[in-house]
Point group: C2
Chain length 325, copies 2
């Protein structure tokens, strides 16, 4: 008996979920739902595409829907709508709106008798879990989160809005020296500038003034002004060849003290070649948990904080105790 | 309303639990139970000591017993006996015997209507959780565990049994170059020798042949023969001044692939000044979870795999979603 999954949204994340499902033999992909005309997407690899309006016809045929839309406008509408019909998993990441999103999904999921895991992935998700774990074990201590090296979509968009910029990409880079200070037992108060560096690769329009572009970027409030920012001008070919990947990662570190001043450091880190494929793999593991919790009779919205790790694995509790404990 | 805790066993771990409870204002230490004469232990810091045979008189007055005995002989007897009367947490770490220990504690705890978290700490415990998480998210991949730099009690004992050795301590040291290979995306098959180094500090008896001692150590089967082992001779004073701490730590790393070959690396690491104090801090966080699960009406044996992180924190689910997700 496989877990029958549907994918809603077929961008980078949805494609990543399709690949992740292929790595998990206890899953079966039933259909991909999209707002586009499904005929345009019909592919050679046997995937069924459906218009999102057809989702309702799959009630009883899909155990869990993996929602791959964006947090700005897609998920606030889609998750509650789909949660009335199916168990769901999503990666909603607009931090300030998580409490209200939780309430709205919780009500919808309970109405439908379904279970919804919201805001999973790696941050929110695995990083959140590690912040919680470390603070629970070391209540006397200081926690830090560093992101990167990785592409920031928001900052890349900001570069591309600068006059004279044809294309560009921005990498958030953690300052290694700052991480080393924490690893060596210090608990510094860092300024924004001391934690992350911003590195931009920019393709300028022909004839544009590169120095003007550089100034416009490094002085841009909110995005770059508070950071040390490097701007490198490259050709369109270089951008295509060297900057098409979507790497990311980062570190959650807590430095605490126990007893009479024993230093204790807990660190969790990710180094990802593909941010969307990794997020997709996390979504699939939590889809397994959502399905199982629903089978146990639970319903409503859950976060990663509510879900024991044992439910993420296809192995039985006996196997896990024997092989992994 | 505080969580009323008892400690069973007052060695390094029990003393660590006492300190950890002092860092967690939602806990209250009711009494320490010991096989020694409690009068010998009466201290100035207001702790009540009781003989272990008095535990039964505390039924209803203690919410959770934190068991701090050893895995070889103490816990296989103590945990089932105490679990009939109280919720418990322990750090049973004899890996091969975990399945039978689980069964025995599960039966006792269910009989008493109590909840017992077995085999927590950092390995088994936090490291186990990270092995499970990483393998669930990256099913195509290779996992590694490295220990150290830290004192190995078993190996230190082995040194001290060598003729001519007066005292000694052994550090297990992970081979940094091996970890770097994994971090850079390789998935090598390591020999035992390639993963860990063993570093011994030995105080020789007066007149003993140091070269004989060195040979006896480095060729000792099971303990040292399969490793590169360094033996350093030091004075008794040096041993006291430089090697009284109980540092430990290590890394759990998984290197996996998603999609068409994207490398994804998940790493969890600990760097601990005091192994027993850190283990104690983990026990207290899981004691909080044991108490809460018992309050919910659950009983029987559980492992870290069965317990959501949210139960480890004194904060409410709303606070956790708002502040840590």
């Amino acid at each position: 008996m496989t877990i029958k999954a549907g994918i809603v949204g077929y961008g980078n994340l949805g494609k990543g979920v399709q690949k992740a499902i292929a790595q998990n033999p206890d899953f079966e992909l039933v259909a991909v739902f999209t707002r586009r005309q499904p005929e345009q997407l019909a592919s050679g690899d046997g995937v069924r595409f459906e218009h999102i309006s057809a989702a309702e016809q799959y009630k009883g045929k899909i155990d869990v829907m993996i929602l791959c839309g964006g947090s700005a406008t897609d998920l606030p509408e889609q998750t509650p709508a789909i949660a009335k019909m199916f168990n769901t998993v999503d990666s909603f990441d607009t931090h300030a709106k998580i409490p209200e999103f939780f309430e709205s999904v919780d009500a919808a999921a309970k109405q439908g008798g379904n279970l919804s895991v919201i805001s999973t992935g790696w941050d929110p998700g695995l990083f959140s879990l590690n912040r919680l774990l470390a603070e629970s074990i070391l209540p006397q201590g200081t926690g830090y989160t560093f992101w990167g090296k990785g592409v920031s979509q928001g900052h890349s968009d900001a570069i591309r809005r600068v006059p004279g910029v044809k294309a560009g990409v921005q990498y958030t880079v953690p300052v290694e020296a700052a991480i080393e200070r924490i690893r060596s037992g210090e608990t510094p108060d860092f300024t924004t500038r001391e934690k992350h560096l911003r590195v931009c690769y920019v393709v300028a329009e022909e004839g544009a003034d590169q120095e003007e572009i550089r100034k416009a970027i490094v002085t841009m409030p909110n995005y770059f002004a508070d950071y040390d920012t490097e701007v490198h001008f490259i050709t369109e070919e270089q951008l295509k060849e060297e900057h098409q990947g979507m790497p990311h990662g980062g570190f959650v570190i807590r430095s605490g003290e126990t007893g009479a001043g024993s230093k204790q450091i807990i660190e969790f880190g990710l180094k990802l070649d593909s941010n969307p494929e990794f997020t997709a793999s996390v979504l699939v593991a939590y889809a397994r948990a959502a399905y199982r919790l629903s089978k146990e009779g639970q319903s409503g919205a859950k976060t990663v904080f509510d879900i024991p790790y044992g439910l993420l694995s296809p192995k039985s509790p006996e196997e896990l105790r024997r092989d992994l404990l």
